[in-house]
Symmetry: C2
Subunit: 350 residues, 2 copies
């Protein structure tokens, strides 16, 4: 099916234009001056031959790659997809191309297998989405000689990183719930990237600061459908009056479960999410959450990487504090439920 015509080479262009190969190279790269006359000839030849320089050959000799690898645990999850979009946009603007590598597990051998193909490519640098365990593992397996930046929710690694301060935002969100009058706040965790996520840490910190009880956490997968069960479970426990969920999708699942159990949000239980997912404002009730600008995070990360590639040592961190988005899924606690919890009775408002 591919027609036999071999793509034109720089030599073909040179011959067509009646100049030497290096001259063509010079108009291509702009590395040196070329007389307007020859430049025109070359440009004409390039157009006529539909010539495209071979990146492989170019990289081989110039040792300058134009590919940036993005290493992520999943490409389809909301925050990741957004971050990738941000990275790609800025990378394209800077003349780079983006290569995607998915690392599914945190197992060292698996990670090595996944990234090895990518590493043989001539890479200018890599951006690692370090929000989950595979990301953390990938970061540790990357050779020291490739410029890298991590995108994260917590400032922690030695490599340059762009962060969205989750700890701070989670703390504020919990403060907000406490300020509404809730005796304490329960927490549904997303699968953690390390021993403990920034979201969980911030929640714990707020509780400690307020001298509130620190209840055991609920765990959820990334699938919001699994969070529905957590919600029904929560509805059964009268001690729960406020819930901070690890992300909006989980919050939606939890709210669904609570509603299925016959309780109302926020009248009986307050629920807040995290991320400000595009659908969170359309949910009933509209979700109170913390805005996470993932696309912006990706862009900030890429800028950091670009500096690193250029050998600039300056800024190694770029941090941003996610603003709270107050909508209506959280309210003051239901006095009935609070007293029922205190007396140990199960109150079913169904």
């Amino acid at each position: 099916m591919t027609n036999g015509t071999k793509p034109a080479t720089i030599a073909d262009v040179a011959a067509r234009a009646g100049v030497s190969v290096p001259t063509v190279s010079r108009v291509l790269t702009g590395a040196a001056r070329v007389s307007p006359a020859k430049r025109e000839l070359v440009e004409a030849a390039i157009a006529e031959l539909h010539y495209r320089p071979s990146a492989a050959a170019r990289v081989l000799v110039s040792r300058k790659a134009q590919v940036i690898a993005v290493i992520a645990g999943d490409t389809s999850r909301y925050g990741y997809a957004e971050a990738i979009r941000g990275i790609e946009e800025d990378a394209r603007a800077a003349g780079y191309t983006v290569m995607i590598t998915v690392v599914e597990t945190a197992d060292d051998d698996e990670v090595d297998r996944a990234i090895s193909a990518t590493l043989t490519q001539p890479l200018a640098g890599a951006v690692v989405l370090k929000f989950d365990a595979p990301g953390v593992a990938a970061l540790s397996r990357l050779p020291a000689d490739v410029p890298v930046v991590a995108l994260s929710g917590v400032r922690d690694t030695a490599v340059p990183q762009a962060v969205l301060d989750e700890t701070r935002a989670a703390e504020e969100l919990t403060d907000y719930l406490l300020g509404l009058g809730h005796p304490t706040v329960h927490h549904v965790r997303i699968p953690p990237s390390r021993r403990e996520d920034g979201r969980t840490t911030g929640w714990r910190r707020a509780l400690r600061k307020a001298d509130a009880a620190i209840p055991p956490t609920f765990d959820s997968t990334w699938d919001p459908r699994d969070a529905v069960d957590v919600g029904t479970q929560i509805a059964k426990d009268p001690a729960v009056t406020a819930v901070f969920c690890g992300n909006d999708e989980i919050a939606m699942g939890v709210i669904r479960g609570i509603a299925d159990a016959g309780l109302r949000v926020p009248e009986d239980v307050s629920v807040v999410g995290f991320d400000n997912h595009p659908l969170s404002g359309l949910w009933s009730p509209p979700l109170t959450t913390a805005e996470q600008d993932f696309a912006g995070l990706g862009r900030r990360g890429l800028q950091l990487l670009l500096k690193e590639i250029d050998g600039e040592e300056s800024k190694r961190y770029s941090s941003e504090r996610p603003p709270l988005v107050i909508r209506s899924s959280a309210a003051a606690p239901n006095p009935q439920r609070v007293s029922a919890a205190a007396s140990g009775h199960v109150a079913e408002s169904a």
Copy 2:
């Protein structure tokens, strides 16, 4: 930052192992037999030197690329992100690496600019997500010599393609609504990829088949928040008893708008979506929709591409029919509303 150690080359490995360069190449590629003794020596040297073959050099001489480009109009939209995930998984399994190229507009010059960087890379092939105008444009700008497959909702192009038969599914969904007793079905379009999308065509076909009136369509952007306005607008028109939305996210926005206007779904107006978005089952009411296996579509597309790369001419199409997912956002029409519409009065059930 990067330490000065240059990466080991095949020559370094050969020297370290005490063999010739081609012998190292042979153990690397497995192209020819190498005595166990030398093979071991070479493998040891590779390990000690942390040697990684340069893909650039390899491609330059072998003319076999290991990169597959995915060209899409947006990487973060649900269906696209899922398709990319499917492509990436299978590509990785087949030893390929995936490069992402985003094409934001359908303007030829813009498209050329976006894909030119990618095309200079040594590409084994390309997968084009042809669900929107930029995708369609990109497909037309690709040189004839790169193996390509399109992912689409309608079987139409000359290039091999994997399709999810949207027309058929949209028709069935509309049939279903009609079967519930609705006099006709209104339609909110997603931004179309061509003159008319398969989703719209299927809807029109079902209406025509049933001899139902074909009302003018509503248009929406990809942002579900914009669909809220469409919903409030719909609520004002008593003639609307059933709405088929171009995708689930738009349906969610429309439902929100209808609810904001004081009407109920499905009691006053039935609304169905398309795609079976992960949150659609958790929505209130749970969305009736058509399942779209985007990740599977991506995988089918990649398999087609792999065959094409290998020069197999066999199958050029892979089509699948999305099954309906009946939940509860659609029901029989509200008799009151229907008669009000017939008499030209505006019925506000608020």
